[in-house]
Subunit: 243 residues, 2 copies
DNA sequence: GAGCGAGTTTGCGTTTGCGCAAGCTTGAGG
DNA sequence: CCTCAAGCTTGCGCAAACGCAAACTCGCTC
């Protein structure tokens, strides 16, 4: 059961059509994609496995073909902060692009994953040879910078309640799957995970979810959250629910 | 008095040597620098003047020749957050580089400034023509992404006291000037500014500075902070000052 | 050199959210 | 089907930091 999704992938032939529809590779010729693909290695990572760790030599960059990857920073005191979730089709671990030679965070498979990787050494020649790839990639880094700045503003100005609501909405939009009850976040996520995304404690998240469940905004269970009333949750996120 | 620094600059001839020592332009031929310079416009901005505003069409990118620029984000509720300070020699407002067509923040002259600007339209051709410029620039964006991520971690895990101490140390390192009493932050900075960098209130910053002044870690006055005991302040920043 | 206003200090009450502790639930694996 | 540990809930007390208010101080301008 756990492996079904993976098997589907290994029945597929790894060919150019696999990449051609993904944003980073938009606008690149099929022949070039074949060439790129011939340099890549594919790998499966079981849920929980570390694809790379903070501080490791950055000798590869990655494309997530299937699954979800959690990007986690560790503080000197051992606390964890979730920097972002990677969805399928996204590049990650592109330390080369930003002039680093070690990875700045851990990448952990949130579910079983299929990942392509390229040797870091080909980064330079790749961006030079495919300008659209370079443009796409740098635009993506730009939007991650944006995200990060927005999150700083959020952390600086909003209360925990609002931040948790925003985080759930973002996840629901990004990776939500429509169900009978609402929008289900499509991978296992614990109270602890949510607290590490929002800079709070699992206790506070638990309390908030309980209270929202009573009010009918969400349904949640063990490592599972469904947003049932997005608009009302949005009001919480924007602070319009105060008396 | 206020204009003395500026005048020095306008006595200088704008020539390639002006750029050649700045990190973004490292490794570019003198002739190429002359060409670049011929496309640039120079301007003075008085203290407090807005060089561009959040949401404006991004039709230029900038190089700070002299002075200090504050990059400020405004929230929907009207609160301000200082994203960073730009020191002389740094590029800023490079929305093009990250695929944006409006500026994501305000840029305000923290003191009288001298600024070069180029039309945004030449960004693409510039990065293509000068690969080292592209590399330098993207490495810089990468380090800003890093900074932002680090700040998120800081906001999520550290108390106000630690964040304020870190912010002061960062400013002192970045733009500090050695004086008889210690390291003076080299531009006017108010309690309010510091609070907008650290996600707190001017009251709390004032209380912290008062207490640190009593303990001899800093000296501070109206829009002025001198770090006198960097190592002890560093202990505060890392949380080692608790009983 | 007098007056003004921006910037700063400080006290006090209040709120938010944390820390700790104890008990409960659930689902995966044997 | 049973077990058990990982994940979740909840109560209680407490500390950090905010919000508000009032007073003060310094440096700039006229």
């Amino acid at each position: 059961m756990r492996l079904r999704k993976l098997e589907v992938f290994f029945l597929k032939i790894l060919d150019a059509t696999l990449l051609s529809n993904l944003p980073p590779f938009e606008g690149i010729e099929n022949q070039d994609l074949e060439d790129l693909l011939s340099l890549a290695t594919s790998a499966r990572h079981a849920k929980g496995q570390h694809i790379f760790d903070q501080g490791d030599d950055a000798n590869a960059f990655f494309l997530l073909l299937d699954g979800h990857v959690r990007v986690v920073k560790i503080t000197p005191h051992g606390e964890q902060i979730i920097a972002r979730y990677i969805s399928s089709g996204e590049l990650f671990g592109i330390a080369q692009a930003i002039g680093r030679d070690t990875y700045p965070a851990n990448a952990v498979a949130a579910v079983d994953c299929v990942v392509l990787s390229w040797p870091g050494t080909i980064w330079q020649q790749t961006v030079q040879r495919y300008p659209t790839f370079a443009t796409n990639t740098y635009a993506m880094i730009g939007s991650r910078l944006q995200d990060a700045q927005d999150r700083i503003v959020e952390m600086a100005t909003e209360r925990v309640e609002q931040r948790v609501a925003s985080a759930l909405l973002k996840l629901a939009n990004q990776t939500g799957r429509k169900t009978a009850e609402g929008i289900l976040i499509d991978f296992p996520i614990s109270r602890q995970d949510i607290s590490e995304m929002t800079g709070t404690t699992l206790h506070t998240v638990s309390r908030l979810l309980s209270s929202w469940e009573q009010q009918g905004l969400v349904k949640s269970g063990r490592q599972k959250v469904t947003v049932t009333e997005g608009h009302r949750l949005l009001m919480v996120a924007s602070g319009q629910n105060r008396d």
